[in-house]
């Protein structure tokens, strides 16, 4: 069991128009075995929050901790999956997956074995030697996921990993993600702007609001566990309870927008 915690008073960027407060007063824990999803429109600070967890961004005030130990930079205990795959296009699928192991000096044969097993786990059996440029967006995201898993991270940080995929591919990836999560028990932090995706995947859902970025609501949906218990995805997404929560979230987001429009 591990917990990745952000206790952050603020993150301020210096921009051409002066200081911009990207995040303000955010406290959030990602524990092993949880899927924490940050939902919000662009500019709500969810990417900054992921950057904090990953160690790409340092808080202006506050800290990020793993089991009480401060995070000082990026590291393989928190592997990141990016929206635009961020793969190395000159490497084959297999070498991309094995990239993190190569950095550690793991031998070729062992790397290869791990990479092939992971490619099979993400449904890319037989694609080891394929070039990244020959792969579809969905396949690339699977490679990105396998690459992150290869370094045996304690936490998976996912920056809108399914945002660029078509509807059907997206749903398949959601199911794959939950199965991998169940098998590994890792702590996952995922950001998305899709209400439905957030509800389906999250064990904890935080709704974020912009200017400055902050958490405005927290929910604890149980649809992910219901899916893993055997309930079909379509039944869950058509469940009146699911639809009611989706509408409630949409209304909350809309009300926040109007509030902002009234008061600036």
């Amino acid at each position: 069991m591990s917990t990745l915690s952000a206790i952050v008073a603020g993150v301020t960027y210096r921009s051409r128009n002066g200081a911009v407060e990207a995040l303000s007063g955010v406290t959030l824990d990602v524990a092993s075995g949880e899927v924490v999803v940050a939902l919000g429109a662009s500019g709500c600070g969810k990417s900054t929050l992921l950057g904090l967890f990953a160690g790409f961004v340092a808080p202006t005030a506050g800290q990020v901790l793993i089991d009480g130990v401060p995070v000082t930079g990026p590291g393989p205990d928190r592997a990141v999956v990016f929206q635009d795959d961020a793969l190395m296009p000159w490497l084959s699928a297999e070498d991309n997956v094995a990239f993190g192991l190569r950095l550690r000096g793991v031998g070729r044969a062992e790397r290869q074995q791990v990479a092939r097993d992971l490619l099979r786990d993400v449904g890319l059996d037989g694609f080891a030697g394929h070039a990244i440029s020959e792969m579809s967006g969905g396949m690339r995201q699977r490679v990105g996921l396998a690459r992150a898993l290869a370094v045996s991270p304690r936490f998976l940080l996912m920056d809108e990993p399914l945002g660029a995929l078509d509807e059907l591919t997206r749903e398949r990836m959601q199911m794959l993600l939950l199965h991998l999560w169940q098998a590994s028990g890792k702590g996952i932090f995922l950001i998305t702007h899709s209400i439905e995706e957030a509800l389906f995947l999250a064990t904890e859902l935080v709704l974020m609001s912009p200017r400055p970025g902050r958490i405005v609501q927290r929910y604890r949906p149980d649809f992910a566990r219901r899916f893993l218990a055997g309930e079909p995805i379509r039944a869950i997404k058509g469940d009146p309870q699911f639809l009611a929560m989706r509408e409630d979230l949409a209304a909350t987001i809309l009300a926040g927008d109007e509030e902002y429009a009234r008061h600036g």
């Binding site: 590291g75 393989p76 592997a79 190395m88 000159w90 950095l103 940080l157």
Partner: protein
């Protein structure tokens, strides 16, 4: 061959045939005297003769070899200096701020303009030519490398760092391969610049080389050697270009496909 040219090879061929016919026409009809422009047949015969007997004390192979050796040596010097310098410029804005003005200052100056200075400093030997051509190649290669490094997707660097890459690993396993397509394109352009500079340099101070051969032939009014030499210079440039395109496809074929 470029994608745009594929399937239109006949148009290229037609132009070549037309030019050749025109060349043959104006010379065979006596419209232009052989002193000004010898016919294709005469030039071809002269080429065969040059290959057998050489010209002013050196064989054709020695002339071409002298030119190629100079450009090859300069290329090696430029690669081992310009690529690291360009990498440093791309990685660290401070290095860029320090070196960019120098490179941008001399880059637009035609190499032949500073050739006299190099001759004063280094004489008319081999060193001068290799230095001149190295300088001509250095600037475009360093600039292409720096801009390639700057264009690297920041997420790719973040991905590597979150997988545990050290600073050096990020540079050599992520940034360098990411920039390689730009570096190779820069190299191809630089080689073109270098080749034309070299041949021009040989017009001024040399006793061997294709540029020298053309220059001395022109002084002796052996026009067929002049034309043959020009054709040979063009063909070698084309072969070098195709060679580097092949290298680009082989080592950076992944770029442009996404």
């Amino acid at each position: 061959m470029d994608k745009t040219a594929r399937g239109h090879g006949w148009a290229t061929l037609a132009t070549l045939c037309l030019l050749l016919a025109l060349w043959w026409g104006v010379t065979a009809s006596g419209l232009v005297a052989p002193l000004f422009l010898p016919g294709p047949g005469a030039v071809a015969a002269r080429l065969a003769d040059l290959a057998r007997h050489g010209f002013v004390g050196a064989s054709l192979l020695q002339h071409a070899g002298a030119s190629l050796a100079r450009v090859g040596l300069a290329m090696i010097f430029a690669v081992v200096t310009a690529i690291p310098v360009g990498m440093a410029m791309g990685l660290w804005p401070r290095v860029n701020a320090a070196l960019d003005p120098v490179i941008e200052f001399y880059r637009p100056v035609p190499p032949l303009a500073y050739l006299p200075l190099i001759v004063i400093w280094f004489g008319i030997g081999e060193a001068t030519k290799v230095i001149l051509i190295t300088m001509a190649i250095f600037a475009p290669l360093a600039i292409a490398t720096a801009s390639g490094v700057r264009r690297v997707d920041p997420d790719r660097v973040r991905a590597a760092r979150s997988l545990g890459a050290s600073r050096d690993q990020v540079v050599w396993l992520v940034i360098f391969p990411s920039a390689l397509p730009d570096i190779l394109t820069g190299l191809r352009i630089a080689l073109g610049v270098g080749w034309s500079t070299l041949v021009a340099a040989e017009l001024v101070a040399a006793s061997r080389g294709l540029g020298f051969m053309v220059q001395s032939a022109s002084q002796m009014l052996v026009t067929d050697v002049v034309v043959a030499g020009i054709l040979l210079i063009a063909v070698i440039a084309l072969v070098l270009e195709l060679l580097l395109r092949w290298v680009e496809r082989r080592f950076a074929g992944w770029s442009g496909t996404r």
